[in-house]
Symmetry: C2
């Protein structure tokens, strides 16, 4: 069946990036619609009452399907485009990938990413002034703890959820990649995390993310460097 896909997203939103990575890995072409979600555009809130990105619209002969929020989109893609499987091939693999999805989308964002991105990105987008150093510091401390946790996982595994690349890797990389845009990931202290991230960075699905630039937000010099 022929499916036309339109992704409404914000390039520097970790949730949106997870969906772009999954679409890329499954080699599903889509029309790219970057949205300034903080300006509450009507088109977006008509698609998703929460007013949030990402939203994926799928059009087929049988009608239009609107998928709101990253997890709903990722689950739908897993159900409808089975290969490559990104959520594991048995119950234990899926349980571990899903545990880590929650870990990064909730715990990482709450303890690390949320602080850093609010201070370095959202404040600039919203014109809310300079970053508060205490918040940045707290986010960077949280980030170190999470990098340490990823390091522990990688001591025993090739990918975060086990033997196979999964949505858990994309979730972690999506969150880290936006922080990396702002140059705040201390890669030098976490060699095995860096190696894992380099492997992800060199996948074709990752390339569009490395080309993202947003007016007024300059990426760190090494941001798009595959051998950083």
């Amino acid at each position: 069946m022929n499916v036309e896909r339109i992704l409404h997203h914000f390039p520097l939103d970790p949730a949106s990036r997870q969906v772009r990575l999954a679409l890329g890995e499954k080699r599903l072409p889509f029309t790219d619609n970057p949205v300034r979600y903080w300006e509450r555009p009507k088109e977006l809130s008509q698609l998703n009452p929460s007013g949030m990105v990402p939203v994926l619209v799928e059009k087929t002969d049988r009608g239009t399907l609107v998928l709101c929020e990253a997890r709903a989109i990722l689950d739908h893609l897993e159900e409808t485009v089975v290969e490559p499987a990104l959520l594991g091939r048995n119950a234990a693999e899926r349980a571990e990938a899903r545990r880590l999805l929650q870990w990064f989308d909730r715990k990482f964002e709450y303890e690390a990413g949320g602080f850093i991105l609010h201070e370095k990105m959202e404040k600039r987008l919203l014109g809310l002034g300079a970053p508060e150093l205490a918040n940045l510091r707290q986010g960077r401390e949280g980030l170190k703890n999470h990098l340490w946790y990823i390091d522990q996982l990688l001591a025993e595994r090739e990918w975060l959820a086990g033997k196979r690349l999964s949505l858990a890797d994309f979730a972690a990389a999506a969150h880290l990649s936006v922080i990396d845009y702002f140059g705040d990931v201390p890669w030098g202290d976490f060699a095995s995390v860096k190696t894992w991230y380099m492997k992800l960075k060199s996948r074709p699905a990752f390339r569009p993310l490395l080309m993202d630039r947003w007016p007024g937000l300059t990426p760190a010099k090494h941001y798009d460097d595959l051998d950083f």
Copy 2:
């Protein structure tokens, strides 16, 4: 296949309650292990590195499966115990149920439940003193907006995600039911939400939740009343 299930949970945790409702609705018996998660018990952090409830352990002849975090558990139950289906029977129904899962677990908790439960429950459990009225007020304002949104959904639908009872109803009811334990839901102003909640409350799966009592936390008088 014979499955022995143990649920590690906190009775007044909305995420844990979603899992209990799903287990109840699918008529899956389980051993109940209430956990004082805020005391960081070692048994819990060994099962789930985040130290959070709920955790479902499934034991079969083939081994033990540890499922951490509500969404992972709910997804696993949908995949392994197909009837009754709680996530919709086609892509559009599932997309809508999943959109609302995110809505309640994230937006509702962030704008309403988080404030109220932190002030009325967590502070007491942790011995952090009296509730701050400004926070409570903000939570109650948020709660009204969400009740209004539920009301809008129910104007066109029998259940929150459409024609069929789904995890979206359980998510909303799980969050609301804990707030209702503390007597903070203004049912009188939202008649159709109240009718919907009464229907849920009278389901057998809901009964164990109405019997929950936690030392030091007294429920509102109408809490377990089916005709409140």
